[in-house]
């Protein structure tokens, strides 16, 4: 005890009284999650404001006589006349591998009841995107495990690929499948001790969704064993509009940490339509002037500055990447609305999902004709490029001919063959949800289709043929699949082996 007293005495003797300058203000008006504050002359844009009683806000409007603040918490605790102060800090979120496997809110606080998160680093939610010098072109693939995407609309690491479609067309499913596919690949590489494989970590940002929907997504990922490689950042529909507008930025900061540290990450924004609506709400409450569809003038900048943060950085800067998969929900397939056109123009391609296709049983309901990937083909696996290079053209021809054939006119043999092939390709591309297919299997299946092995199979039995073929190759030709996976290209030797195996299978198929 005597030591402790001496220690305290020494500390008192050495203590220096310091008086720091603070900037304070007074709440003049409060309501709907927005406060108008008088004073705060030194407040900065996007600075966190300490509103007292454990509540923080974000300074969004700096006017001549007042500061407009959005409140990130329970604003019912606050009242007019309360003193507030600036913090000198921007909105920050914890980052790092400690967040993997966790469900967090906009501030990076756990909401999954699994205890505190181990993270000693924080990144600002708003950060300038990597500049031109730091970037390099996309060259590594993101294997989504969804055959039509990997074959015809390939996505590269660092790309921004938009998923767009009406409600209930399978937009989220595509992203979940991609996350599951990454988890499987990461796990397989870990088990095999493959040090060359770059694991792809995933961040799923749920914006304005029902809590039950988020719970379902978590359950699916847990069941598929994808959670250890995934972070879920959630701002459900019950959250304030300010939280819903800011949560994608928090998710992007978490993803950027992986990129800055030479790792690869994939971020899913589900969905940016709801974020734009939340931003419109905040802007209208802050009395900012509104424009088209009542969105504020800077709604394009809201999305562009968020999506620009997805990048592939050069070797000199760690060689990391952040791939973005934003989701946009359209109304009755109208892609010419304000937000869809904005995001289409920002991203490096889009995957269109159609309600009609969905109800025709084509699932995933991807309209291959108008879906495009502007940079991903450079990252596509060579073997896939070899087998699927002509697929998009063939399908386009098929659609044209099929429309013509509806008139019931007689068709020549070649046209009929093209239509038959097209029908079979369409069948091959149907895929069950949460069941990503490894790229080697995809290559084998597409190769067999392109080499006429499916032409004699009735359309109704194509799926059965595909399943049996997959089973045959995985159980009996594992080495051949491993060779395709390793070499990533179809050499003449491999093609010959494939031919022997496919002939062998064809003989057993009934």
């Amino acid at each position: 005890m005597a030591d402790l007293l001496k220690e305290i005495e020494a500390q008192i003797a050495g203590a220096k009284a310091t008086t720091a300058k603070q900037n304070v203000g007074v709440i003049r008006e409060i309501g709907d999650g927005v406060a108008k504050i008088e004073g705060l002359n030194d407040a900065m844009l996007n600075e966190m404001i300490d509103l007292g009683k454990g509540v923080t806000g974000l300074a969004l409007n700096l006017d001549e006589t007042e500061v407009g603040v959005v409140i990130l918490g329970d604003y019912t605790k606050l009242k007019e006349g309360d003193e507030v102060r600036t913090t000198g800090k921007l909105l920050q979120v914890p980052v790092g591998k400690g967040l993997l496997g966790r469900v967090v809110n906009i501030l990076g606080e756990p909401v999954d009841g699994k205890g505190p998160i181990k993270s000693d680093k924080a990144y600002p939610a708003e950060k300038t995107a990597p500049g031109i010098i730091r970037r390099r072109s996309v060259s590594q693939p993101v294997q989504t495990g969804i055959m039509p995407i990997d074959a015809m609309i390939p996505i590269g690491r660092g790309q921004r690929e938009l998923i767009i479609g009406d409600r209930a067309t399978g937009k989220t499913t595509i992203c979940i499948d991609t996350i599951i596919s990454q988890a499987r690949l990461n796990k397989a590489a870990e088990v095999a001790g493959d040090k060359d494989y770059r694991p792809l970590y995933c961040i799923y940002v749920a914006i304005g969704q029902k809590q039950s929907t988020i719970a379902r997504v978590i359950a699916v990922l847990e069941e598929a064993g994808a959670m250890p490689y995934t972070i879920i950042v959630a701002s459900p529909a019950s959250d304030s509009a300010a939280n819903q507008y800011l949560v994608p930025f928090a998710g992007a900061a978490m993803g950027e940490w992986f990129m800055d540290n030479g790792m690869d990450a994939l971020i899913v924004y589900d969905d940016l339509t709801k974020q734009a609506v939340a931003y419109r709400q905040v802007s209208l409450l802050l009395k900012r002037p509104s424009g088209r569809e009542a969105f504020p003038g800077d709604v394009f900048y809201l999305h562009s500055r968020l999506l620009e943060r997805a990048a592939r950085v050069g070797e000199k800067y760690g060689n990391g990447s952040l791939t973005a998969m934003p989701i946009i929900e359209t109304q009755s397939g109208d892609v010419s609305a304000y937000i869809p056109t904005n995001v289409i123009s920002i991203t490096d391609g889009q995957i269109f999902l159609e309600t009609d296709l969905f109800y025709q049983g084509v699932r995933p309901a991807i309209n291959v004709g108008i879906s495009v990937s502007r940079v991903g083909s450079a990252a596509q696996v060579k073997a896939m490029k070899q087998v699927a290079g002509k697929l998009k053209g063939e399908l386009a021809q098929f659609r044209e001919l099929a429309a013509f054939a509806q008139f019931g006119s007689d068709l020549d043999a070649k046209t009929q063959a093209q239509i038959d092939r097209g029908k079979r390709i369409m069948e091959i591309f149907k895929q069950a949800q949460y069941n990503p297919i490894p790229v080697e299997i995809q290559v084998v299946v597409i190769w067999t289709v392109q080499n006429g092995y499916v032409d004699q199979v009735p359309v109704a039995r194509v799926k059965e043929f595909q399943n049996k073929l997959t089973e045959y190759f995985t159980t009996r030709k594992g080495q051949l699949l491993a060779k395709i996976g390793r070499e990533k290209a179809l050499s003449d030797e491999l093609k010959a082996e494939l031919k022997v195996a496919a002939d062998d299978f064809k003989q057993t198929w009934q």
């Binding site: 603070q22 900037n23 304070v24 203000g25 008088e38």
Partner: protein
């Protein structure tokens, strides 16, 4: 009362008219207020309301409230006054107040700037750090 953009603009113009070398001139403020109150124009009340707000904010910017746990001796008051005038320029209205709840030390507020060297502030900071 809804204050329109035009009323705000007019109030701001009148406020600028009341400034002499960057400081608010009391007699001009009085004149403007009397004129607006007597004019009877439809917009006058809203202009006057915003004008009043601008004047209030300017007063707060040029007022230094100095609180201390014990009354300050005149020489210390003079030192503080000189220091504040050096930092914020002339035309500062200085108000000294006695606030025992500070426990010890001084708290100075000029506009939205606060220099809190009181014991109470120190204890509050300590409480937050726990």
């Amino acid at each position: 009362m809804k204050i329109t953009k035009r009323a705000k603009r007019d109030a701001k113009y009148l406020f600028r008219v009341c400034l002499v070398k960057g400081l608010l001139d009391e007699s001009r403020v009085r004149q403007v207020a009397q004129h607006l109150a007597a004019s009877g124009e439809r917009n006058s009340p809203s202009i006057l309301a915003h004008f009043l707000r601008l004047v209030k904010l300017d007063c707060a910017r040029h007022t230094a409230a100095i609180e201390s746990a014990t009354p300050l001796p005149p020489d210390l008051r003079a030192v503080i006054q000189n220091g504040l005038e050096h930092r914020y320029g002339p035309g500062l209205t200085i108000i000294f107040a006695h606030s025992p709840e500070l426990i010890g030390g001084i708290r100075i507020q000029v506009g939205s700037d606060v220099y809190d060297g009181s014991v109470r502030a120190g204890l509050e900071a300590l409480e937050k750090s726990f």
